[in-house]
Amino acid sequence: MIVINSKDKRIKIGLEIHLQLSTGKLFCKCPDINSTGIKGKFTRKLFPTENESGDVDVAALQEERKNVIYEYQVTDNSCLVEADEEPPHEINAEALETALSIAFSLNSEVLNAVSVMRKVVVDGSNTSGFQRTAVVSTGGYITINGKKVGLTTICIEEDSARRVESGNNYTAFSLDRLGIPLVEISTAPDIETFQEAVDVAREIGMRAMLTGNIRRDSDAIRQDVNFSMGYGRVEIKGISKLSLISEALIAEEKRQKYLAEAVGILVERGGFNGTVLIDYTEKIGKSESKIIQKGIASGNRIYIGKLENLGGILKAGDYRIGKEIADALKLFSIGGFIHSDELPGYGLTEDEVNNIKKFLKCEEKDAIILISIPESKKDLAQDAINKRIEKLSSLNFSETRAANEDGTSRFLRPISGSGRMYPETDIPTIKINEGTLNRLNLDSPKSFDQSLLSFTKEWDISRQEAEIILATGRKKEFIELSRLWEKPREVSRILLQFVPEMERKYKRKLDYNDLKRLTEKIATKNYGRISLEIAIEQCISGKNIETVLMSDDIRPLDRSELKSIVENLRKSGDVKKENIIAKVKNETPRPVDPKIVMELYQNT
């Protein structure tokens, strides 16, 4: 039995934490929030450059990708820069300062100058074919449960375009996310347990939140995990929830253990010498298997191959070399693939399987595969299978994997080399003056508790409220609204209680800009909380913001209006000091000032 999640001495974990900033985009003046839908579309091709992908057969990949069309959806928060039709503008100073502030907060050594690099990425997620990224500081540490976990670098970079659709030779991206500033914090591989990984990620996230400039979007914080247990370094990218970090690590440890075992069996049997795919279409043409028939109907050929010594470890128990091969094939858009550990099955009869085995002169320990592909892809497929098995056989599992929603991961690409980086020549090195650095260092949040204390004091709100505001990234909004309407307690209440309540009630989000406009109106007109709440509810319930702003509904009743109500009520009798306010409120949906009502009631 294999032990999972133990404090295995060989296990080393490192994290890369990516935080989106709410400062507007990094190299243009576009906002980070997209307010409307798709404004237009365009298509591009990307041409892989030599160094982009380490070990993968570049020529093959190029051949494969040259016909891939990337479609980009233009959004309101994108301009010529996102379309790769204009050089980047000067770096967003607020974003850079936020990154530096986080660096100071994490004891990292801030550089006096920032050199922006291009990191080549040709999966279409960057219109330019590269991501702009720059180191802002090196080193640093964070203390978790008394243990210092080291940091290697803190970078500021552009977020990539959001993938919205994927076809065979076609992928569509939205430009809404492209160019949003990301702060990337990389730890050293100092983390030893899965829980520790979660704790480190949480603490770093919290500290960054204190800047008030972290976006509050569902994928605003994403983690990459570096994991090694003796079989090379595996990088799992794109874990969007804290809770999934440990699940991903558990799954990866399990995968590597069983892979290593399976490879052990393979080696013991004599290893793998490469397979040759043979066109078997004519021979199996009469099979009743739907996969076979569908393949042939769409013009595919049916290839078979012998996988020497791989019988019983492609898919049996926890052995899963078959899935590894399938992942490798998927890179070239090859989906259909059947192996003998699953056979008979897929409509193939025992006889048909045996015939293939006989044809390929298989022994018991060998496996066979069937694959339905166009003739043009045969060499690609054969190559991909052989390379994958060879790589695994070497017991060096180093590679980049993508996190799945369920905690597992899939093969993405080999670990990228440093070769895919070169300078962004359009942006001169950015010198940061000493004064700015000193100011940022001084102001940077040194710990959550310390920040909480000063925040609570500054705004005169409860510690509990302050904690929620800081921890949920509402600091910036809170400060902005409190400056508009100088009632921080009311603002806090609106932000933390009323708005979420209404959003639940109407199953609808309130746009922050709308909230800001409503608050400004109430502040300028000196209307009070009730008015704001009525306005917010009307907005969330679907009313047009302009209508709400102009509506009489949010204007408190004035003295003369109240007077006539009070007098009418008095005429109808049945009013007393105890119920007069409730009665007046019953008469109107508009805000009522109880003080004035009481005054009017008593003085007439």
Partner: protein, 413 residues
């Protein structure tokens, strides 16, 4: 003080901030050292913060020689002049520079190597803003030589002055035995998103048509799906950064390349049986952009020693009446004055307003609806090869499609 200046690419071991680092030296400027970390990032640090422990000279990079397969394809010559279209990047140090290694582009479309027998000739390696009229003359001679050996000629060129070069060549070549297609790019070929590849693929395709004109092949739109072939005498770079910067002003491109297919959109001059090149140009010609506040003396000063002046006037071809005495004086010295419009499109018509009629009387020559840049190269050509008294008449003759005989409303109105 320790040495902190090295050959680019030198491997260093340094201490910075208490750590020992293996880095690659990139550059030094104003007391700051830029080095490449092993993870590929460059960092820039004050030199006084680091100590260099060890250094080793970089290995010289072997220059790859250009070898293209020469099958039985259509013979095409490619003349490289520099510019963004072919640029090389040294991944070790990050330097990007113009290159003549067309291999990188051809590689993207392996089928091109089967289809064409491409011979590459390096003419120069400069940024196009440094291209001068005397180089156009040399380039024309090289084009003539190459075209006599092939079905068509491609000229890779920086985009900044590509349309000037194209129109100058267009006048010099009265007859061509095949297409001469100029091609450039707005994003350098070191980028995965470069438009070089698509522009070159289109240019190759255009180069084996029956067109007998000097043309420009660039993106039709921002998308990578269509490449336009423009007439050299009607094209202008209309945007400083977009892929679709080049437009056939007030007209339709000659053809579009899309899905490996050429569709002709308007009429063109077919290739001839012979090449006819008149390789002379009068270089003493300048352009003046009219604007409020322009002084008569400005015109007079810039006209000294000039054989012609191209004025980009306002509207239908007007300038302030305060400038008329200077115009008269300049014309009196024998300098031709040609009127174009700064309106980008539309005709010059000196009959409509009184100022125009007065300019006409002074001897100002109307450039009709020629682009100002084309009026410049045409003047260079005419004054280099024709009797000066024929100048005005020849300016009105549509020699190379530089005058649009009919302008249409276009599809969007």
């Amino acid at each position: 003080m320790v040495q902190t200046e090295f050959v680019r690419g030198t491997k260093l071991k340094i201490t910075y901030n208490g750590n020992e680092l293996d880095v690659t030296y990139i550059s030094k400027e104003e007391g700051y050292l830029t080095v490449k970390l092993q993870n590929g990032y460059n960092i820039t640090i004050p030199e006084n913060k680091i100590t260099v422990l060890k250094s080793s000279e970089p290995q010289p990079v072997k220059k790859k020689s250009i070898t293209l397969k020469h099958g039985n394809g259509i013979p095409i010559s490619l003349i490289t002049t520099g510019g963004t279209i072919v640029s090389a990047i040294d991944y070790d140090t990050g330097a990007v520079h113009p290159s003549t290694d067309i291999r990188k582009i051809i590689d993207r479309y392996p089928y091109m190597e089967e289809k064409y027998a491409i011979s590459v000739r390096e003419f120069d390696n400069i940024l196009s803003e440094n291209m001068q009229p005397n180089m156009w003359i040399k380039l024309a001679a090289v084009i003539k030589e190459e075209l006599s050996k092939s079905k068509g000629v491609l000229v890779s060129h920086g985009t900044d002055t590509m349309s000037y070069t194209a129109s100058a060549l267009a006048f010099m070549f009265e007859k061509l035995t095949g297409p001469v297609v100029m091609v450039g790019s707005q994003r350098s070929s070191d980028r995965p998103s470069s438009d070089s590849f698509g522009n070159m693929e289109g240019a190759m395709a255009f180069s084996s048509t029956n067109v007998g004109e000097i043309c420009i092949s660039m993106h039709s739109g921002t998308s990578d799906d269509s490449i336009s072939l423009h007439r050299g005498t009607r094209t202008r770079k209309m945007h400083s950064t977009r892929r679709d910067a080049f437009r056939s002003v007030s007209g339709t491109p000659i053809a579009k390349f899309r899905n490996k297919n050429i569709e002709f959109l308007s009429e063109y001059k077919e290739k001839s049986d012979e090449i006819l090149l008149t390789g002379k140009l009068e270089e003493e010609i300048s352009m003046i952009y009219f604007h409020p506040g322009l002084k008569g003396e400005d015109i007079e000063k810039i006209s000294e020693g000039k054989k012609a002046i191209i004025i980009m006037g306002s509207g239908l071809g007007h300038i302030s009446q305060s400038l008329f005495p200077s115009v008269k004086k300049v014309i009196g010295t024998g300098t031709k004055i040609v009127m174009t419009t700064q309106c980008m499109s539309g005709i010059v018509d000196l009959n409509v307003y009184s100022t125009g009629r007065e300019l006409k009387k002074l001897g100002v020559v109307s450039a009709e609806n020629m682009l100002p840049e084309v009026a410049l190269t045409k003047s260079m050509y005419l004054l280099g090869n024709y009797p000066h008294e024929d100048f005005e008449q020849m300016m009105k003759v549509n020699m190379r499609g530089e005058i649009l005989e009919r302008e249409f409303l276009g599809d969007c109105y």
